[in-house]
C-alpha cells in the first residue's frame, strides 16, 4: 500500500501543476481553510488518534500551533499519516504543507532533498530495546542478533554503520510502521528493536508487560527531530519556525495556556512577553499574520513545556524525562532566538 502511495505521489509530482515549491503556501492554506499536516502512522505519545478519532500528540501539536497562528483556530488541521518511506515524497509533491513526524534533521535531507528543517522540537538518539530474558546488558553483545528496523529512516543507516564498525553481524528485519515492529518484536521474529530512544520508550509503554524489556544504555547516534517544510517558500517556513519558537519562548517567559490572558492583559512587565503576545510592536504583521497570532498558539495549544508534559512527560504512561530537552536555562538544549 505504501508503494502505491509513493507511485501516487510520484504521479502527483508529474501531474500536479505549480503547487510544488512555488511561493504562496500561506495564501494557498488561507484559501483552502486548513493546514495539511503529515504525521506518522502512530507512535504512542508522539502522534496518536484520540477517542474521537482526532490526531493528538507531541508532533501534531506543532501543526495545531501553526493552525492557531494562521487561522486563530487550532482545529483547522487535516492530517495525512505517512510512513518512513512515503513522508518525503508526500511533502515534496505538495500533498502536505508541513511534516511533523519525528524526522531527523540531516545534511542530505536539508540540502539535497530540498527541504527546510525549521528547528528541533526533540533531541533524540538511536537506542536498542531487548527482552530482559536474553540477559544482554550492552549493545556490544548483539553480534548475530536479528534486528527489527523501520525502513527508509536514518536509523537504518546508523545501524549498518554501528555493526560494521564494531565488526558484528546481524540480520536486518525490515518493517514499515511502529505497529508492525511491535508485532514482530513481541512474536520473537527479531531479538532487538531499534529506533529513536523516545520511540522505544513510547512503544515499551504500550506493551502488556513493559518491565520485561530494557532499553540498552548505548545511544549510537544524534537524532535531532523537528518539523520541516519544502525549501523555497521562506514566508511559510518562517511561520512554522516562529510558531515553534513562540512556544519555546513562552515556556521560558512563564507564559502558559492558563495565564496567557492575564499576561496579555499586562500582568507581566517583561517586554519580550508584550511583543510575543502582540501588546507591543507588530511581529505578527511581519509574518503576514494577525497581531495576536502567538496568543492564539499558547492559548489553544500551550507552550513547549505544556505540550511535552501533556503527551510524553513523566506523568504520562510514556514517562520521558525532560533531560536534554529541558530549556537551556535548566541545563537542556531547548533554546529559541528572541522575539524582537
Amino acid at each position: 500500500m505504501s508503494t502505491f502511495k509513493v507511485l501516487l505521489a510520484a504521479g502527483a509530482l508529474t501531474a500536479v501543476g505549480a503547487t510544488g515549491a512555488a511561493a504562496g503556501t500561506l495564501d494557498d492554506i488561507r484559501a483552502k481553510g486548513f493546514v495539511q499536516c503529515g504525521v506518522s502512522t502512530g507512535v504512542p505519545g508522539f502522534s496518536y488518534t484520540d477517542d474521537a478519532g482526532n490526531w493528538q500528540g507531541f508532533d501534531p501539536a506543532v501543526c495545531q500551533g501553526v493552525a492557531a497562528a494562521v487561522f486563530g483556530d487550532s482545529s483547522k488541521v487535516k492530517y495525512t499519516p505517512t510512513t518512513g518511506k512515503t513522508r518525503f515524497t508526500a511533502l515534496a509533491s505538495g500533498e502536505i504543507d508541513m511534516l511533523a513526524r519525528n524526522t531527523t534533521w540531516t545534511f542530505s535531507r536539508d540540502v539535497d532533498l530540498g527541504f527546510t528543517f525549521i528547528g528541533v522540537n526533540y533531541y533524540d538518539g538511536q537506542g536498542f530495546m531487548i527482552p530482559k530474558a536474553l540477559g544482554v546488558g550492552s549493545a556490544t553483545e548483539l553480534d548475530g542478533a536479528s534486528v527489527c528496523i523501520q525502513t527508509g529512516t536514518t536509523t537504518e543507516l546508523n545501524l549498518a554503520d554501528y555493526f560494521r564498525t564494531n565488526n558484528m553481524s546481524y540480520e536486518p528485519v525490515p518493517i514499515e510502521t511502529n505497529e508492525e515492529a511491535r508485532t514482530n518484536y513481541l512474536a520473537g521474529r527479531c531479538d532487538v528493536y531499534t529506533t529513536d530512544a523516545s520511540g522505544l520508550a513510547a512503544s515499551r509503554a504500550a506493551f502488556d508487560n513493559p518491565g520485561d524489556h530494557i532499553v540498552l544504555p548505548e545511544i549510537i547516534s544524534k537524532e535531532p527531530l523537528g518539523p520541516l517544510v519544502r525549501q523555497g517558500d521562506e514566508q511559510w517556513g518562517d511561520v512554522v519556525r516562529w510558531t515553534l519558537n513562540a512556544m519555546i519562548n513562552a515556556e521560558e517567559y512563564g507564559v502558559t495556556s492558563a495565564n496567557v490572558d492575564e499576561m496579555a492583559g499586562g500582568a507581566s512587565n517583561n517586554p519580550e512577553v508584550a511583543r510575543l503576545l502582540g501588546a507591543e510592536g507588530d511581529l505578527g504583521g511581519m509574518l503576514g499574520l494577525e497581531k495576536n497570532w502567538a496568543y492564539n498558539v499558547i492559548k489553544q495549544v500551550g507552550n513547549y513545556g505544556e505540550v511535552f508534559e501533556t503527551h510524553i512527560g513523566s506523568n504520562t504512561p510514556i514517562g520521558l524525562e525532560r533531560g536534554i530537552n529541558a530549556l537551556y536555562t535548566d541545563g537542556g538544549l531547548i533554546y529559541a532566538p528572541p522575539m524582537r
Binding site: 508503494t3 509530482l13 542478533a145 518493517i175
Partner: protein
C-alpha cells in the same frame, strides 16, 4: 475512367473531410499528434516541477554507497556496496520468488485442474472449494495471513522444532543443512550432463526408429533410470564427495545451513497457491475443450488410456491452456511486488523503497523500477509466445 475523373477533382478544404480516405488519414494524424503533445506536456511538466523543487535529474546516485543492509542476498553484498548493487540484489530476490512461484503454481495448478474434473464427488468438491476460496480472497490478505501464521504460531528460535537432525522450524525461518561440494563432485555433474545429452540423442533415434519400423522403446523409463542412475554411480565412484553443514544455535540465531526466511516462505506460498487456483481453472477449461469424442475414438482404436491422455488430449488442451497461463505468470511476477507489505527485500523494497527514500530520486528510481518490470514481463511474454507457437496446431 470514372475513378480517374473522380481523383482529378480539385482538392478543396471541404473534400479533406467529406472524402472517407482523406478523413481516415487526417484523424490518424490528429490522434498521433495529440498523443505526442500529451507526452511532451507530461515530460516538460515533470522537468519544470523538478526544477521548481531544486532537484536535478541524473543517475549518478547509482554509484554512491547504499549504506543499508539486506537480509537475503543471493550475491555477496554489504552496506558499503553501491545502490546499483543493492538494486541487483533486490532484482535477484524478485526473480527467485517469481521463478520458484511460477514452478510451484504450475505443478499445483495442473494437479488441481485435473482433480477438478475427477469423477469422485468428494475430491471434485474439495478442489472446487479450494479454488473458489483462494482466488476470491485478495492476494495481499493471503500474504499477510501466511506471514502472520509463520511468525505468530511457530516457536521462537530458541525453542525451534526439529523434525529430523539438522532441520529446524522457527518463526525466524526454516533451517536445513547446506550441501558442501568437495573435490570430485565435478564428476557427478559431468555424469548428469552426459546422461541428459545421451537421452536426447537416444529419444531422437527411438522416434526415427519407431517411424521406420513401428517398434516402440520405453524412452521415459530408460531416461529416468539413466539420468538418476549415472550421476549416482559417479557419486559413489568419486567416493561420496558431499558433506553437509548443519545449522547450529549459536548466540542469538542459528549459524550455518540454509535458511528460508518467513518473509520468503509466506510470499512464495501465498503467491503460488493464489495463482495455482487460476491455473487450475485454465487447465480444466483446456481439457474440457477437447471433445469427448476424441477419447472415445482413441479407445475404439485400442490406444491405452495414458497414451490417449499424453498423445491426444494434452497436446490439444495445451493450445487452450498456454495463452492464459502467460497472463498468470505475468500476474505472479508483478504481484511479487507486494513483498513490501511483509518486508521481503525485493526490487521494490530495496531499490524502489530504501534507495528512493535515502537519495530522494523519486523520478529516476521509479523510471528504473518500471522499466525493469516491463522488461521482465516482456521477456516472459516472449518466451511463452515462442512456446505457444511451438505447440500450435501445424496446419498442412
Amino acid at each position: 475512367m470514372a475513378a480517374i475523373e473522380h481523383d482529378s477533382e480539385p482538392l478543396t478544404l471541404g473534400r479533406l473531410w467529406s472524402d472517407k480516405r482523406y478523413r481516415a488519414v487526417i484523424t490518424q494524424i490528429l490522434v498521433v499528434a495529440g498523443m505526442f503533445m500529451l507526452l511532451a506536456f507530461l515530460a516538460t511538466n515533470a522537468v519544470q516541477n523538478l526544477e521548481a523543487l531544486g532537484k536535478t535529474f541524473g543517475f549518478d546516485f547509482l554509484w554512491a554507497p547504499a549504506g543499508y543492509d539486506i537480509n537475503q542476498t543471493l550475491i555477496p553484498y554489504d552496506s558499503r556496496e553501491t545502490h546499483f548493487r543493492a538494486g541487483v540484489v533486490g532484482l535477484l530476490n524478485t526473480g527467485l520468488v517469481a521463478i520458484t512461484g511460477c514452478i510451484f503454481a504450475t505443478i499445483l495448478g495442473f494437479i488441481l485442474g485435473v482433480l477438478r474434473l475427477s469423477s469422485n464427488w468428494l475430491i471434485n468438491r474439495i478442489v472446487y472449494c479450494y479454488i473458489e476460496f483462494t482466488r476470491n480472497v485478495p492476494v495481499l490478505v493471503q500474504i499477510l495471513l501466511w506471514h502472520g501464521v509463520i511468525v505468530s504460531t511457530l516457536p521462537g528460535v530458541r525453542q525451534a522444532l526439529s523434525p529430523t537432525e539438522g532441520v529446524f522450524l522457527s518463526n525466524r525461518g526454516f533451517y536445513v543443512p547446506k550441501p558442501v561440494f568437495e573435490d570430485g563432485f565435478m564428476l557427478v555433474i559431468i555424469a548428469f550432463l552426459a546422461a541428459i545429452a545421451g537421452m536426447v540423442v537416444f529419444s531422437r533415434w527411438a522416434k526415427k526408429h519407431q517411424e521406420a519400423t513401428g517398434q516402440i522403446y520405453p524412452v521415459f523409463s530408460i531416461g529416468v533410470a539413466a539420468i538418476i542412475g549415472l550421476p549416482l554411480i559417479a557419486f559413489f565412484v568419486a567416493g561420496m564427495p558431499l558433506a553437509f553443514e548443519m545449522p547450529e544455535l549459536k548466540g542469538f540465531n542459528f549459524q550455518g545451513g540454509v535458511v528460508v526466511r518467513p518473509e520468503f516462505a509466506a510470499l512464495w506460498f501465498a503467491l503460488s497457491i493464489y495463482t495455482a487456483a487460476f491455473i487450475a481453472e485454465n487447465v480444466r477449461s483446456g481439457i474440457q475443450s477437447v471433445s469427448h469424442g476424441q477419447t472415445e475414438a482413441a479407445f475404439a482404436l485400442g490406444i491405452k488410456p495414458n497414451w490417449t491422455m499424453r498423445l491426444i488430449i494434452v497436446p490439444q488442451a495445451l493450445r487452450v491452456i498456454v495463452p492464459p497461463l502467460t497472463s498468470q505468470y505475468l500476474n505472479l511476477t508483478k504481484n511479487s511486488s507486494l513483498a513490501i507489505a511483509i518486508g521481503y527485500m525485493d526490487i521494490v523494497a530495496t531499490f524502489g523503497g530504501i534507495t528512493l527514500n535515502q537519495t530522494g530520486k523519486e523520478m529516476e528510481v521509479m523510471i528504473i523500477v518500471l522499466t525493469i518490470y516491463l522488461t521482465i514481463s516482456l521477456l516472459i511474454s516472449a518466451f511463452m509466445n515462442w512456446y505457444n507457437r511451438r505447440i500450435a496446431l501445424v496446419e498442412r
